[in-house]
């Protein structure tokens, strides 16, 4: 059944939704927590959205979370609240989710919405980057799988074709003993947008680094990650030698170029980002 009011669609199935996207360029609304604020108009007046609207957050098919061959699949319309309560969602994601907004927003905002909104301050993004998340984009023609860092191209810019819907986020298996961190720096604990965020993964085997990944949020147009620098850490003895640590921090110092805005300054962001990295790589209390 279709509920149609002024070019808006609310289909019972994912298949119908996808075929509508193939016919018409639509504004997709999941939780609407970004869309409704972006298009806000005066009190009493409906938000001004130019394109036809398609609602997706009721679609059961987009709310499944399951394991397949060790990889975790998360439905694009899982809300923060649903993820907090799901036993398969990694604890480090739950820690990050508890720092997103406040309960009411967490009951509407979705993982897919956070990704597709592609804000430099999107709080799920640093962890998704270090988990090497893959995104499943579905159209009438095919399922296309894209790496998150190829999908997100800049603030509100994503590599989605008009006829595609993000249906699933895949987190490839992460080794159990990996040390993980997520830190968000903002003005207050609830309802505050990140000034800087940082996610790190470090795996040490037999006294040597076996895997290292870092992503910084809100310090550039997209997450800052450098696989080149990460590689320099492989096989290094842990605890790290001072020269190795300094080199990694210096590498990031040269690629982190934040801006001044109403929330923070470039200098503050950069200093804090580098301190978080150093803290993660040296902290004994953390693990």
């Amino acid at each position: 059944m279709v509920t149609k009011t002024v070019a808006s669609y609310h289909f019972d199935t994912l298949a119908e939704t996808i075929s509508k996207l193939n016919e018409e360029d639509c504004t997709i609304i999941a939780g609407g927590t970004d869309v409704m604020v972006l298009h806000k108009s005066r009190r009493g007046v409906a938000p001004k959205i130019a394109k036809p609207v398609v609602f997706i957050d009721h679609l059961r098919e987009l709310k499944q979370t399951y394991l397949e061959d060790g990889d975790l699949h998360i439905g694009a319309c899982c809300t923060y609240g649903e993820m907090l309560e799901h036993s398969l969602i990694p604890n480090i994601f739950k820690k990050a989710i508890r720092e997103v907004a406040a309960p009411a927003i967490r009951n509407r905002g979705t993982l897919g919405g956070n990704i597709c909104n592609a804000s430099p301050a999107g709080d799920m993004l640093p962890l998704l980057y270090i988990f090497n998340a893959k995104l499943v984009l579905r159209s009438v023609n095919e399922d296309r799988i894209v790496e998150i860092h190829d999908f997100i191209q800049g603030p509100r810019r994503i590599a989605r074709q008009q006829n595609e819907l993000l249906v699933e986020i895949i987190l490839p298996e992460v080794v159990n003993e990996a040390r993980l961190i997520f830190e968000k720096i903002a003005n207050r604990r609830a309802d505050a947008i990140s000034k800087v965020s940082f996610a790190g993964l470090l795996q040490v085997q037999a006294g040597k680094v076996a895997d290292a990944r870092f992503a910084f949020g809100a310090v550039g147009p997209t997450m800052v990650r450098s696989q080149e620098t990460e590689k320099k850490l492989l096989s290094q003895v842990y605890p790290l030698k001072v020269e190795v640590l300094d080199e990694v921090v210096a590498d990031f110092a040269s690629i982190i170029n934040p801006i001044d805005d109403q929330r923070s300054t470039a200098a503050y962001r950069k200093t804090v980002a580098l301190k978080l990295l150093r803290y993660f790589l040296t902290s004994k209390e953390l693990f």
Binding site: T5, S8, G31, M36, A46, P47, F55, P103, R108, A190
Partner: protein
């Protein structure tokens, strides 16, 4: 036509699907307990329960509500849980100008229905999406602690 449950009765509207639930409640249904503070999800004055979860009605396009169950402060005020909250907010001084109160009560219900005996920290987190310009929050926290005690077994 969008059809959903509002305070226990099935309602229908032919308002456009992008209309905010807050506007529909206040203008079409004349339910003015839900307030507009910020209109951007930051103050919680417009809080309602959708399928028993606290949400900001200023951010909900009504088209997303098809088939859901919405409860506003007006519907909630007919429940025994509300009676306890009403009394405890009054006793503890958790209401001054009252603008935040309907939203605060809805957030309190959402908290207690999940966690009937919250710690102070959990209470503060539960109402962290609701701003109050008057009380300084401590009296609201007291009210919720009192309600958890007095209403033991209700939630």
């Amino acid at each position: 036509m969008i059809k959903f449950k509002l305070n226990g009765s099935v309602v229908e509207t032919d308002a456009p699907s992008t209309v905010r639930l807050l506007d529909l409640l206040r203008e079409e249904f004349e339910l003015i307990g839900s307030k507009e503070g910020c209109g951007e999800g930051e103050c919680g004055a417009c809080s309602v329960l959708v399928d028993n979860l606290v949400q900001n009605s200023c951010l909900i396009p009504i088209g997303a509500l098809e088939g859901t169950d919405v409860q506003t402060i007006e519907g909630y005020s007919k429940t025994p849980q509300y009676q306890v909250l009403n009394e405890c907010y009054a006793t503890a001084g958790g209401v001054q100008c009252g603008f935040c109160t309907p939203g605060m009560i809805i957030a309190t219900e959402a908290l207690l229905s999940k966690n009937p005996h919250p710690s102070e920290e959990e209470i503060r987190e539960g109402i962290s999406g609701n701003l109050c310009r008057c009380t300084g929050y401590n009296m609201i926290v007291d009210a919720i602690q009192l309600a958890a005690k007095k209403g033991d077994g209700l939630w």
